[in-house]
Symmetry: C2
Subunit: 287 residues, 2 copies
């Protein structure tokens, strides 16, 4: 059983409509409030060598990235910290606070608990205009498949390329980019935190179309043999780039640096250079 199978246990109880996107949506006056929650903890998310400041930064960043991927503006963050030692609290809070400040959000609440393993759960709230929100569904055949930045860098650090330490330890959510892309007409969007391949399969599951990538167009982490770099870009985890689809007439979206890496197809499949992409990336396994 993997994460995505486990999710079907949840949808059986609370319904599918609330588990499709990076954020939930709630009406708020004439805007939409997007809300999302993420759990991180020491053994699986906080890599050896991270400072408490970086743990706090990362905890805020992953949640702000979910908000960015809806094209929304991050506004508020709540942070629940399960501490295995009280001395870590100040660094964690400062890191989360600095990340929020950098991207225009504010910490408005939280909870502190004692815990056998350092565990941080952040909940983010953002605002979007009704007409501007972008969801995972909405891709149309003929749209361009695009991505911000260079996927695979965070995983490259884990695989021994120490020059990518900062990409893994201090992820930069694409907050400004998300809002510009929403305004610029992106038809579907999500972040690629589980890797490009799994993200495209997630998009596949909620769209009536497929995705065909051109490997020559995929931006790759530099200084790594091409085959390995392509593997990292497709199947590595820990990046927080935006992967999105864009009608050709909306391209280019000014002010955002992104690569066109493929097209949306009528056929419901995920291909690269005409061959199926393996459905593999960052997932927990459950016994």
């Amino acid at each position: 059983m993997d994460d995505r199978e486990l999710l079907s246990v949840v949808t059986g109880i609370i319904g599918k409509e609330h588990t499709m996107d990076d954020c939930a949506e709630v009406p708020c006056g004439d805007q939409i409030l997007v809300v999302t929650t993420d759990m991180l903890h020491r053994s699986t998310d906080f890599v050896e060598g991270m400072s408490t400041w970086q743990m706090g930064w990362m905890s805020a960043a992953v949640t702000l990235s979910d908000i960015a991927s809806m094209g929304a503006e991050p506004k508020y963050l709540l942070i629940a910290v399960g501490l295995d030692g009280w001395k870590e609290l100040a660094g964690i809070m400062q890191g989360a606070q600095d990340c929020c400040k950098r991207f225009g959000a504010m910490i408005i609440g939280g909870d502190i608990d004692r815990h056998g393993e350092l565990t941080i759960v952040t909940t983010g709230l953002g605002l979007a205009d009704k007409s501007r929100i972008v969801r995972r569904s909405g891709a149309h055949p003929g749209d361009l498949v695009c991505i911000t930045g260079t996927p695979g860098q965070a995983q490259a650090y884990i695989d021994g390329y120490s020059e990518f330490r900062k990409q893994l330890f201090e992820p930069q959510p694409r907050v400004k980019e998300g809002q510009l892309l929403a305004r610029g007409g992106a038809s579907a969007m999500m972040d690629d935190s589980d890797g490009v391949a799994l993200s495209l399969y997630d998009l596949l599951s909620v769209n009536e179309c497929g995705f065909s990538l051109d490997s020559a167009k995929l931006p790759l982490p530099s200084g790594i043999p091409e085959k390995q770099a392509c593997e990292l870009a497709l199947h590595g985890g820990g990046d927080y780039e935006l992967i999105f689809t864009l009608p050709p007439h909306s391209h280019p979206v000014y002010g955002v640096s992104y690569s066109v890496i493929g097209t949306v197809t009528r056929e419901k499949s995920v291909l690269i250079d005409g061959l199926p992409v393996e459905k593999r990336g960052y997932q927990h396994k459950w016994e």
Copy 2:
């Protein structure tokens, strides 16, 4: 160092204004959105003998209680679950879902993670009219000090009185009561989850007045020697009653069952029968 001292580390970084109440407040159209997050985990919160359904129920209930204590209407819940075994997920989700349904809220999102210790973090969102919201501050000398239900029952179960099992395992947040009390003029309110004594000291810290209780008026768990029952009511944890202050002219608030247990005083102290109440209740200790 205890929980309340640790909180001062947080206020030093994010400011005091966001840590004073049971919920944070966010403007939402012409209403106020209240938001709160709570972390529970197996070793400290889920008592031996609880079913997964009860763990899910309790996780939702503690957060709905925070919303109730602002006089707000619970609307939405997000739930992040760190599982030590995937088979527990269905029971937890069903318990949380049933609690939400019972009190008018809806689960709209969450996160699932693998974790060495079962950990559940719920984030609740509620709505209140601007004029109707009740905070911890707002008490005035001469107001009545009141409490819903009977405090001390949850702790009584832990101390060996098995008839109070349900009070600890399936707490009932005072959602309807909170809204009626807000409408009825309550001047300050919070829930008593850390015990009546600590709650009054929390109120003391944000009000320019004090509280004087009359032990004869304090409702006590039945079937327990009076001295022990009074200790449980004042210093026991795990209850989710509302403790609030009420101007005399607003008393009684119809439709709510509560006891008047004392008065708000000019003197900044917490007294019972004229003697200081020990500042002691449910708190983690940090080495």
